[in-house]
């Protein structure tokens, strides 16, 4: 990989829940290179959003950070005060959320929401800010910028709302854009448009993207590298093509098998197939490898101790099949 922009090292994080402590991350490592798109893939509940919130430090109140570092451009974000972190958000890191219909404020016009973001991050107000906002809207391919500025979010389509979110996220040329399932709430054609838009903007502006998606097919199309997540662990990581076309970890192989055939992809039923079994209850996770109850290749050792993160072909995998990097 190129120079890392973001390095997550040995991240440990748990949630306090009614059913006890949920130890989600037990030493997670992740890098995002400068100008790179890293796809983070995994089923719902694997910890993708929590990873995003850990990086941008917007965790829910019952989350407990238990150690590790999140270094962005040489700065360890976990060491910053809340006030310093506020300057990082919106300027160095921003985020686009899954459901634009709830992520935009319903009682403010687009204009007012954009102007607040511009004021907070660039310190510009009034006419100057309005010109900036219009330019941003055009840049996300919303041609009738003036009309959109005067609209309330619910007057726009889901795709338009997501473009507005992206425009706001890119206000101050951030270094890292985290996109948490940015296209899950829109239909297939819009999905492609939004992904192409993100790709174009990234090429123009040079920011890095952490793209979270539950679809490994989407991740392959738009990412340089892919990290596959399962139950709070990164179980496989490598170049996007390699991870998909020659998957190493049994879980990744399962995800790839679920990619619908090209013809079926046009039908909007995306969940035709799933990996057999269910994500475990993480307040009481399986001992050893967290994937072992669902694994077709399970061995005795998998039930007892957690595997290491070994080299597996051109990728890395958290699996005893590659113990000592031999495969």
């Amino acid at each position: 990989m190129l120079d890392p922009l973001l390095s997550v090292r040995d991240l440990k994080l748990s949630f306090q829940t009614e059913r006890g402590e949920l130890r989600l991350f037990q030493g997670l490592n992740l890098d995002v290179g400068k100008g790179e798109v890293l796809g983070v893939v995994g089923e719902s509940g694997s910890g993708k959003s929590t990873l995003a919130y850990s990086i941008i430090r917007l965790l829910p109140p019952n989350a407990r950070f238990e150690g590790g570092s999140v270094v962005l451009g040489g700065k360890d974000l976990t060491k910053l005060s809340e006030k310093q972190m506020r300057d990082v958000r919106g300027r160095d890191i921003t985020m686009v959320f899954q459901d634009p219909t709830t992520a935009l404020n319903p009682v403010f016009r687009v204009k007012d929401q954009m102007l607040k973001v511009i004021k907070a991050n660039i310190g510009v107000e009034g006419a100057e800010a309005r010109v900036l906002a219009m330019g941003m809207l055009r840049n996300v391919e919303l041609p009738d910028a003036a009309a959109i500025m005067g609209s309330f979010p619910y007057e726009l389509s889901g795709g338009m709302q997501q473009r507005v979110m992206i425009a706001m996220a890119l206000t101050s040329n951030p270094q890292l854009l985290i996109a948490d399932e940015p296209t899950s709430a829109v239909d297939a054609t819009i999905q492609v448009q939004i992904l192409k838009l993100l790709d174009r903007l990234r090429r123009e502006k040079g920011f890095s993207v952490l793209l979270i998606t539950h679809s490994i097919a989407v991740a392959k199309e738009v990412s340089d590298r892919i990290a596959v997540m399962y139950a709070g662990d990164i179980v496989e990581e490598g170049e996007a093509e390699k991870v998909v076309d020659s998957s190493k970890h049994p879980y990744t192989q399962g995800l790839v098998k679920c990619i619908p055939a090209p013809r079926a992809r046009h039908e909007s039923r995306r969940d035709l197939a799933t990996v057999p079994g269910e994500v475990p209850d993480l307040t009481d996770p399986p001992p050893g490898c967290r994937f072992h109850p669902r694994c077709p290749y399970v061995m005795d050792v998998c039930r007892k101790t957690k595997p290491g993160y070994w080299k597996a072909g051109d990728s890395h995998a958290l699996c005893y099949l590659y113990e000592g990097g031999k495969a």
């Binding site: 941008i56 917007l58 506020r86 300057d87 990082v88 958000r89 919106g90 300027r91 921003t94 985020m95 959320f97 459901d99 709830t102 992520a103 935009l104 404020n105 319903p106 009682v107 403010f108 607040k116 973001v117 907070a120 991050n121 309330f152 619910y154 979110m165 706001m168 996220a169 206000t171």
Partner: protein
């Protein structure tokens, strides 16, 4: 639906509610087991007068016909004659209402201006010490009986410490008779200000301090509780997280953004509090011997005042009914006003 159609619909609804209220008051007044002509005839009417009034008002006709006459009278502003004052009820009410509304508006405004920020702070620090402290005070305020509070405030500030007048109608009137104010709005406080009579303004304002405290603590507690609840729900919304992710400062998130989302349910209570405080004003005007508003009319009309010497011990039914109708109108209007503010804040309501 567009905004115009929505407003018209709400206005029509308001009229329907009002007619309903007037209907109920009419039939309630007919539960009184006596000849209404006697009430309308002033004190000690002669049989001839009773006869004349019975004819004139149609009291000998069927109830539905009487109801029709009553409704027609009310809708044309004829609320009858007051027994105790021998003056038209409407004129009496219109004279007193501005002073009553002034007191109600000031107490509601204070409850909102202090209660909303306190509620926001309570929500921001939910579960922390500030929140617990605010909870103790706001629940306490809601539990304080106003009649008790009024007397305690008089005891402490007027009798023990002597820093505020116990009840200053007399003193204020004496001052105003030497330094008269023009009648512009009918509210003494506002008129004193508008006619540049600062001495009069100060005297009236001073006499209102304890009444306003008495009236505003209860709504203050209510507003703090409801603002906290509404704000807590708002702070959990996705769009608040978005604002944080885009680096909006915390202060701006609370007071510039989330506050606007949390406001509509609080406004509903604000409307009810304003209208409901009319009832409190009736009591407070009497206890603090304030410039007469409609409270003073009720006290005389029912002969139940604490300080009223009582011109008559009997019930002045037309006057009381008139006050009831006017109070209902105030309720309906403040509800309507809240509706309008709600649409201003959130257009989705009309969808």
């Amino acid at each position: 639906m567009n905004i115009g159609a929505y407003v018209i619909r709400r206005a029509l609804l308001m009229v329907v509610v009002l007619v309903g209220t007037i209907t109920v008051t009419f039939f309630l007044s007919h539960l009184v087991p006596s000849n209404p002509a006697i009430f309308f005839g002033g004190q000690n009417p002669t049989p001839q007068e009773i006869q004349r009034i019975t004819q004139e008002y149609g009291f000998n006709t069927p109830l539905y016909n009487q109801f029709y006459i009553y409704l027609r009278d009310v809708l044309t502003g004829n609320l009858g004659m007051s027994l105790s004052f021998q003056l038209p009820v409407l004129a009496l009410i219109l004279e007193g209402l501005p002073n009553t509304l002034t007191l109600a508006a000031i107490s509601t405004a204070i409850a909102l201006l202090i209660g909303i920020p306190l509620g926001i702070e309570a929500a921001r620090h939910a579960g922390k010490r500030v929140d617990s402290l605010l909870r103790v005070f706001s629940v306490g305020f809601v539990g304080l009986p106003q009649f008790w509070l009024g007397i305690i405030l008089q005891l402490v500030f007027a009798i023990w410490w002597g820093i505020l007048p116990i009840g200053s109608y007399g003193g204020t009137l004496t001052y105003l008779s030497f330094h008269p104010i023009k009648t512009i709005t009918g509210s003494y406080l506002v008129d004193a200000l508008l006619s540049g009579n600062m001495g009069g303004f100060a005297a009236i304002a001073e006499s209102m301090i304890l009444p306003v405290i008495t009236l505003s603590l209860y709504p203050l507690g209510i507003i703090v509780r409801h603002t906290r609840a509404s704000m807590l729900a708002t702070l959990n919304q996705d769009y608040v997280r978005t604002a944080r992710a885009y680096g909006i400062p915390e202060r701006e998130i609370n007071y510039g953004l989330a506050f606007r989302n949390a406001l509509p349910p609080v406004l509903i209570y604000a409307g009810l509090i304003f209208a409901g405080s009319i009832i409190g004003v009736i009591y407070v005007e009497d206890v603090f011997n304030l410039i007469p508003g409609i409270g003073y009319l009720v006290i005389y009309g029912t002969g139940t005042g604490i300080s009223s010497s009582g011109i008559s011990g009997s019930v002045d039914t037309p006057l009381i009914l008139g006050v009831a109708i006017v109070t209902a109108i105030i309720y309906a209007l403040s509800n309507f006003a809240v509706d309008l503010v709600q649409i201003y804040y959130d257009r989705r309501i009309i969808k």
